[in-house]
Structures are given as structure tokens and as C-alpha cells.
């Protein structure tokens, strides 16, 4: 157990060091990235020194690194050059939107992927299986932003029934339940584009493991017991097909949650973590990049931990493996 903890601590240090180093390997420096483009401003050497000093950019790299490490343990993620506020404030303002969009899309694509996968695998080779299989593969073979743009044109521009962009209508004066509905209305298009893209991996995995599961003796036994078809399908074969899905969702949720929706966020101007990271790379905003990467790392670790617990519930055999 001690060894395990030690390896966790070492891994954590390697990760936070990489978080520090990698953004700084990008060509260009924050001062040029933020101020360099604008011909209208007058970045005198005094102004340059003042900004470097204010953001601690002039300090040697090693000093910057130690300040960064110490700050992390104090719960301080640093100060954003571009947004001119603490990184924690920047992150907390973007994370809820990401959780909402990605959480919902993972949830819906997961549920529908599993159901379709179970039904499809159960009826392998039949017409309905072939139909679902080809439809899902067809719809997910388009890149997410393309699906987004098509949805935008059809529902936003031609039919005009759904909002074109944003997380809500700014300064609409809406309150209470109407405001919530406005949020949901703005979610529909980006959410459905993401569901369409995510559904295939979940569907294919479920279908595949379903196909191998229905050949197992326990399915035969269940049949022999005279259980109903749907009971065998969902509670016996289906349940056992979920194990690979759980693993996959764990990896997905951590990484996709933050970065997976970047194109969709840009197409729909949705204020999520993807667009924040993209902007921070463009502006070489090291503290925000470090902070976002740290959050992603922690999220992956936490989710993996939760999945370990969840596994045991899903498949009690795992408990005996230790």
C-alpha cells in the first residue's frame, strides 16, 4: 500500500512538472502573444518591464517553478496574464458550463448507446441490427463541427426555432423557470451534435461484448430457467456487457469533458473549458494552461478511483481478484 501511495505521489509530481514545462515549450512568449499584435499600442521598455515584473515573468525559470509548486500546495493556481484575475476564478467560471454540456452529452450518448448496443447485439445479423449499425456509423463518421454547422443551418437559420449560439440569450431579462428553459434551449443543438458523435463508441463496444456474452453458458442457463427475453437481454447479458463501457466512460469523462467539445464550443460560441484552453494556448497564458491541465489530471485520477469502486458493484468477481 505504501508503495502504491509513493508511486501516486511521484506520478503527481511528474504531472505538475510537465504542466509547468510543456506550456513554456510553445514558441513565443506571453508578452508578445498578448500585446505584440496591436500596432496601436506603445509597448515601451518601461511598460514591458512593469508588466513582466507584475506577472513574475522576468524571474528565472527555476524560481518560477518553485513559486508554482509552493502555490499549488497553498491551493493557489496563479494569476492569469490574459484574463487579469486569479486562475481559480477563471476556471470556476468555465467549469460549470463544461460539466453541463459534457455531462449531459456523455449521459445521453451512454444510455442510448447501451440500449441500442444491447438490442443490436441481441439481434446480430438481422435487418434491425444492420440498420442500427449502419445508421450509427454513418452519423458518427462526420466530424463534430460539421454536424454542428449542419444543425445550426437547419434549426437555427432555416427553421429559426433554436438559438444560434451562446449558453443563454444575453440580457434577455428572463428570470426563474424561463431562464432555465432558455439555458436548455441553447443546449439542444450543441448537445445533440455531441451525442451523435459520442454515441458510436459506446454503441459498438456494447454491441461487441453483447455478441460474445450471449454465447456464454449463463445465458443458456437463464433461458433454461424460462426467464423472459428482455430480462436475459438487460439483466444478464446486458449487465455483463457494461464493464468495458465503464472503463471507457472513465477515460472519456476526464479528457473529453475538458477538451472533447472544443470544436462544438467554438461553432456554438459555448463558454466551456475547451474554448478556454484554446484561448490560453493562443495567448500563451501559462497559469491558465497549468491550472486547466491540473484540473484535467485530478479529474482523471478521481474518476479512475470512482470507477474502481463502481467495478466491484458491477462485477463482484473483481473483489476476489485482489
Amino acid at each position: 500500500m505504501k508503495k502504491r501511495w509513493l508511486s501516486y505521489i511521484i506520478a503527481f509530481f511528474i504531472i505538475i512538472t510537465l504542466n509547468f514545462v510543456v506550456p513554456r515549450l510553445l514558441p513565443g512568449d506571453p508578452l508578445s502573444a498578448i500585446y505584440g499584435d496591436e500596432v496601436l499600442i506603445n509597448l515601451s521598455s518601461e511598460a514591458r518591464d512593469y508588466i513582466n515584473e507584475a506577472y513574475g515573468l522576468g524571474k528565472p525559470l527555476l524560481t518560477q517553478y518553485f513559486i508554482y509548486i509552493i502555490s499549488i500546495f497553498k491551493g493557489n493556481l496563479g494569476y492569469s496574464f490574459y484574463y487579469k484575475k486569479p486562475v481559480l476564478d477563471v476556471l470556476t467560471s468555465y467549469i460549470p458550463y463544461s460539466l453541463l454540456l459534457m455531462g449531459l452529452s456523455m449521459f445521453f450518448s451512454g444510455i442510448s448507446g447501451i440500449i441500442l448496443g444491447i438490442e443490436s447485439g441481441w439481434r446480430r445479423g438481422k435487418k434491425i441490427d444492420r440498420f442500427i449499425l449502419s445508421t450509427v456509423i454513418f452519423s458518427s463518421s462526420f466530424p463534430s463541427f460539421f454536424v454542428g454547422v449542419v444543425f445550426l443551418v437547419i434549426f437555427g437559420v432555416i427553421l429559426g426555432i433554436l438559438p444560434l449560439q451562446g449558453a443563454r440569450e444575453a440580457y434577455s431579462g428572463l428570470t426563474g423557470i424561463k431562464l432555465y428553459l432558455d439555458f436548455l434551449k441553447h443546449l439542444i443543438l450543441p448537445l445533440s451534435s455531441l451525442i451523435l458523435v459520442f454515441i458510436s463508441s459506446c454503441y459498438l463496444l456494447t454491441r461487441n461484448s453483447m455478441i460474445s456474452n450471449i454465447k456464454e453458458p449463463y445465458v443458456l442457463l437463464a433461458r433454461a430457467k424460462g426467464l423472459s427475453d428482455s430480462r436475459i437481454r438487460y439483466l444478464h447479458a446486458g449487465r455483463n456487457s457494461l464493464i468495458p463501457i465503464a472503463t471507457q466512460s472513465g477515460i472519456h469523462l476526464g479528457t473529453q469533458l475538458i477538451t472533447g467539445a472544443i470544436f462544438i464550443e467554438i461553432v456554438f460560441s459555448y463558454p466551456g473549458m475547451g474554448s478556454l484552453i484554446y484561448n490560453s494556448i493562443l495567448n500563451r497564458d501559462y497559469p491558465v494552461l497549468q491550472g486547466s491541465l491540473l484540473i484535467v489530471t485530478l479529474l482523471v485520477l478521481i474518476i479512475n478511483f470512482l470507477i474502481d469502486i463502481f467495478y466491484v458493484k458491477l462485477d463482484p468477481r473483481i473483489n476476489y481478484a485482489y
Binding site: P27, G28, S32, A33, I34, Y35, G36, D37, V39, L40, I41, N42, L43, S44, A47, Y50, I51, A54, Y79, Y82, Y83, K84, K85, V90, S93, Y94, I95, P96, Y97, L99, L100, G103, L104, M106, F107, G110, V157, L164, Q165, G166, A167, R168, E169, A170, Y171, S172, G173, T175, L179, Y180, F183, A246, S249, I266, V267, S269, P271, N283, R284, L306
Partner: protein
């Protein structure tokens, strides 16, 4: 897993409800909305805004300067009712208005002006070069005299008309202006006060300052909201927003639908940047001339820009800057034969594959371009250069990576661009002899350097114009970079709002059609 997801969703809905409760509650129909593709331009205080034109515009609604520009670009009084310039003492005296109140009700006076000039000396504000300011004297409560260290022709535009005056009673205690974002950092004297700012959604809401000293503010509330480039035209058409920038392709459609179109003076320059510093071949002037003759500018404008651009002037200054543009600047018209002639005079000879060779080496250059918009231009240029026998390798980089390569002279030729050419020609110094990737950093011609330094100090307009004419001529001859084109940009708006482009741009030359005087009945 589902339980976790439910929990996540619940939490985020909760957080969202928290975040939205902070948005100001105003009924929709009174607000004039302006769309913006970027959305967030920073906390709109002088030190909090992002240092770009749109950031300045958002700040300028709250803070006033000593003087300002009208539609025609004339300097008009703002906080200063009048002013004089004493050539012998090299000082400007401003006679301030006596009827101005800060948004918190305090009276505005000369001490605020003097304080602001001192403050930017201590905490440099990147829009203004504070080294020019020697001292500021308060002559009486409403008169200040600004003494300059040297003659500075753009003083009225680039300092008096750009520097927002700060309330002394608030800022004298602030020692970290870059991070100070409390509400009192937004107390100005301007026509609007900020009601709401949401960084992640990129939205701003302003309300009219009813006690504004210049006249009645004719818009009750004005908001900036984020709108993607693709959805902007549809949002204007549906009335969701009242004004916004639009792609050139939709101009005629929107015009037919009855919307007003405003065309920005084409003053943003797309350039072929040449590495005259570390690439020996490009360091030769005649080779640069050959390149200039080899490029078919009209083809770039017509094919790559689909006609929505003006051909570049070899002297860099765009024809749209009518005050300073020299129409007699020698230009390079597309002439492939002439390009070949120059190359042959330089000792290059054509090979079997129709490329030029010298000492067994093919004439080959790498054309660096940032991903996206310039790639079409790059393809046309590649074909043009191939036609005269120059082999081009096209390489794409992420935008900031390319900037850094240009800054470090780690390229052969590259396409990049910058704005800033619509206002005072001091900007030419920044893009010719200053440091930074936006500048060609060309120091080969002493007369050019001398003229650039002199023109900024020339207080006589006519003499300065002559200097600028000569600068453009020399630039065209030396050709440290090749100006390809100046693109057209458009805005569309409905009848709820009146907007216009300011001749020479707002403040130091910002080409955004949101001059606050349009919202005031003066």
C-alpha cells in the same frame, strides 16, 4: 456512474443558477445589442481591458479623454473645452470644463488630469508613451499645462485623445492597477456606466449616464454580446442584435433586406514579410524587387480575396489614409518577364525544370503562413513565383508560433499583417524601425530612419506630409516587405442605432465604428 453524472449535472445547474443571478435584470426591449465575435475584451477599466481596439472601445464608453475625434477625424473638445500649444515652451495648456462630475458625484478638476499623467509614469499604460511627458502643472482648478520632453506631433491624437482621465480620489490608493477590478475602478466621467460584465460569456451591459456633461445620451442601455462569425448575419436579420461586423459575402443580402452597411476604410495591411536580415539572397534589394514584380496582386485580390480588398501600396501607407498617403509612390505592377530579367542579371539561369539555378542550387524559398485565412493567398503566391522559376515550399504554422519565428528571423518569406495604418503615421515607426514581430526592423537606409524620427517631431502639418511622402517613396524602393492588399471589412446595423467609422480611427486609430459621440446629442 449514472448517480455520479446526475450529481454533476445537479451541481452544474446549481452553479449556473448562481452565475446567472448576477446578470443585471433589465427588460429586453430597451437594450441595443452589438454582436462581437470574440466577446470578452477584459474588465473595461483602463488597466483591466485587453490591449486591443475593441477593449479600448468598451473602456471609452465609461472614461473620457481630454479631447476626442468626430466623424471626420477632427479633434473636438471633451473634458478640455479648449487648448493651446506654446511652441517655445513645447507645452499644451488645457482649459477644462467646469461642469463635469465623476459617476460617483465627485467634481472633476485639474488635479485629476495631473494625477493621471503622473500615474501612467509610475504604472506604464501601454497605449501612451509617457516618456514624452516632462511635467504637468496645475495652473488653477480647471487649467493644466502639459510640458513635453521633445516635440511630439501626434500629441493631441495619441495622448490627449487616447489617455482616459482617472479619478484621483480612487486611483491614488491603487498600487496594483493591472489586477484591480473592484467596482470603483469603473468610475469615469463618460456617457455610460457599466451594469454588468460576464467574462466567460463575453457580454457587457452599459446604462446611460443621465448627468453627462456633453449632452443627452440617446441610448438607454447598450450591450455587447458574443456572436460567432457564422451566426452574426442571421442574428442581425432576426433582430437578436442591432449591429455587428459581417463577412463581405453577405453584404448585398443584408443591404437588400434594408439594413445599413458601413464599410471600414481598408487600412489593415496584409504583407509578404521578407527575411532581409539573415537570408543573404533576400537581403539583396534587387531580389526583393524581383519578388515584387513576380506577384500578381490583382489575382490575389480577385481570386483569394474574392474582390473584397484593395491592392497593396508598395509604400505601405494605405490609400484610405488620405491625409498621409502619397499617390505618387512608385508601385510594382505584376510583370513576370521583368522579374526573370532581374534574376538573370543577378546570375541565375533557368534550368530544364523551369526553375532558376545558380552554382547547381535551385532557387528555393520557404513560404510560412499561419493556418487559416492566409493559406489561399499563399497558394496564389506560390503559383506566381513558380511561374517565374522560384520554387516555393508552403509551410503552415499556428499563428503565434509564426509570430515568434518572424520575431527571431527564423523564416524565408511569410504572410502576416497588422492594422494601425489609419491613424497618425507614428504607427509607421512601430512597423518599420521598432522591435517586435510586427516591425520589419529595417535599418539599411539612413535617410528612412532619419525621416521617420523627424516626422514625429514635425509640428507643421504640411512639412510632415512632405516627409511622409518621401518615407513612402524610400520604403517602396527599399522594399523591406511587400504589401499585398488591404481587406474590406463591413458592419451592418438596423435603425435602432447609428454608428459610423471615424476618419483616422478612434483614439490612436482604432478602426471600430463605435465612436461614443454617435450616442450623444451634442
Amino acid at each position: 456512474m449514472r448517480k455520479i453524472l446526475f450529481l454533476l449535472i445537479l451541481i452544474s445547474l446549481l452553479l449556473l443558477s448562481l452565475s446567472c443571478s448576477s446578470q443585471a435584470d433589465t427588460s429586453a426591449h430597451e437594450i441595443i445589442k452589438i454582436g462581437d465575435t470574440t466577446g470578452d475584451w477584459g474588465f473595461p477599466s483602463p488597466y483591466g481591458m485587453y490591449s486591443r481596439g475593441p477593449g479600448y472601445i468598451r473602456m471609452s464608453l465609461i472614461f473620457d479623454t481630454l479631447v476626442w475625434k468626430d466623424k471626420e477625424g477632427n479633434t473636438i473638445p471633451m473634458l478640455a473645452g479648449s487648448w493651446t500649444y506654446d511652441e517655445d515652451k513645447n507645452s499644451f495648456t488645457f482649459y477644462l470644463r467646469k461642469d463635469v462630475l465623476w459617476h460617483d458625484g465627485e467634481r472633476f478638476s485639474a488635479s485629476d488630469v495631473a494625477f493621471t499623467f503622473d500615474y501612467i509614469k509610475e504604472y506604464p499604460w501601454v497605449w501612451v508613451n509617457s516618456n514624452i511627458i516632462k511635467s504637468v502643472e496645475i495652473l488653477d482648478d480647471y487649467t493644466v499645462c502639459v510640458n513635453l520632453t521633445e516635440k511630439y506631433a501626434p500629441f493631441l491624437d495619441n495622448i490627449a485623445g487616447t489617455l482616459p482621465i482617472l479619478p484621483r480620489h480612487i486611483w491614488e490608493n491603487i498600487e496594483d492597477p493591472l489586477s484591480y477590478n473592484k467596482n470603483d475602478a469603473l468610475i469615469g466621467t463618460g456617457p455610460f456606466v457599466l451594469k454588468d460584465y460576464n467574462s466567460q460569456e463575453g457580454s457587457y451591459l452599459y446604462e446611460a449616464n443621465q448627468d453627462y456633461y456633453l449632452g443627452d445620451v440617446n441610448i438607454n442601455s447598450i450591450a455587447f454580446v458574443k456572436a460567432s462569425e457564422q451566426s452574426m448575419p442571421a442574428m442581425i436579420e432576426s433582430g437578436e442584435i442591432d449591429a455587428g461586423s459581417i463577412p463581405p459575402d453577405v453584404v448585398s443580402d443584408l443591404e437588400e433586406s434594408g439594413f445599413e452597411i458601413k464599410q471600414e476604410p481598408p487600412i489593415w495591411a496584409a504583407k509578404l514579410i521578407l527575411n532581409h536580415q539573415t537570408n543573404e539572397l533576400i537581403g539583396e534589394k534587387s531580389f526583393r524587387h524581383a519578388l515584387a514584380y513576380a506577384i500578381n496582386y490583382n489575382q490575389i485580390v480577385e481570386i483569394s480575396r474574392r474582390g473584397f480588398a484593395v491592392k497593396g501600396s508598395a509604400g505601405l501607407m494605405p490609400p484610405a489614409n488620405i491625409t498621409w498617403y502619397n499617390e505618387n509612390t512608385p508601385q510594382y505592377e505584376y510583370n513576370a518577364e521583368k522579374a526573370k530579367e532581374i534574376l538573370e542579371d543577378m546570375g541565375w539561369s533557368i534550368g530544364k525544370d523551369l526553375y532558376y539555378y545558380k552554382d547547381g542550387n535551385v532557387l528555393r524559398l520557404e513560404l510560412a503562413v499561419s493556418e487559416g485565412d492566409f493559406e489561399r493567398d499563399a497558394r496564389v503566391i506560390k503559383e506566381n513565383l513558380k511561374d517565374v522559376g522560384i520554387k516555393i515550399d508552403l509551410v503552415s504554422y499556428e499563428a503565434k508560433t509564426l509570430d515568434s519565428k518572424i520575431e527571431n528571423w527564423d523564416f524565408d518569406i511569410a504572410i502576416s499583417g497588422h492594422g494601425g495604418l489609419g491613424g497618425d503615421p507614428e504607427s509607421l515607426n512601430r512597423v518599420i524601425i521598432n522591435e517586435g514581430f510586427n516591425s520589419v526592423r529595417y535599418f539599411e537606409n539612413e535617410r528612412l530612419i532619419e525621416l521617420l524620427n523627424l516626422q514625429v517631431k514635425e509640428m507643421d502639418r504640411a512639412a510632415r506630409v512632405q516627409m511622409l511622402y518621401e518615407i513612402q517613396k524610400i520604403y517602396s524602393e527599399e522594399l523591406p516587405s511587400i504589401t499585398l492588399y488591404y481587406p474590406h471589412w463591413y458592419w451592418a446595423h438596423n435603425e435602432n442605432i447609428n454608428i459610423f467609422f471615424t476618419e483616422g480611427g478612434i483614439a490612436t486609430g482604432i478602426p471600430v465604428p463605435l465612436n461614443k459621440t454617435a450616442f450623444i446629442d451634442i
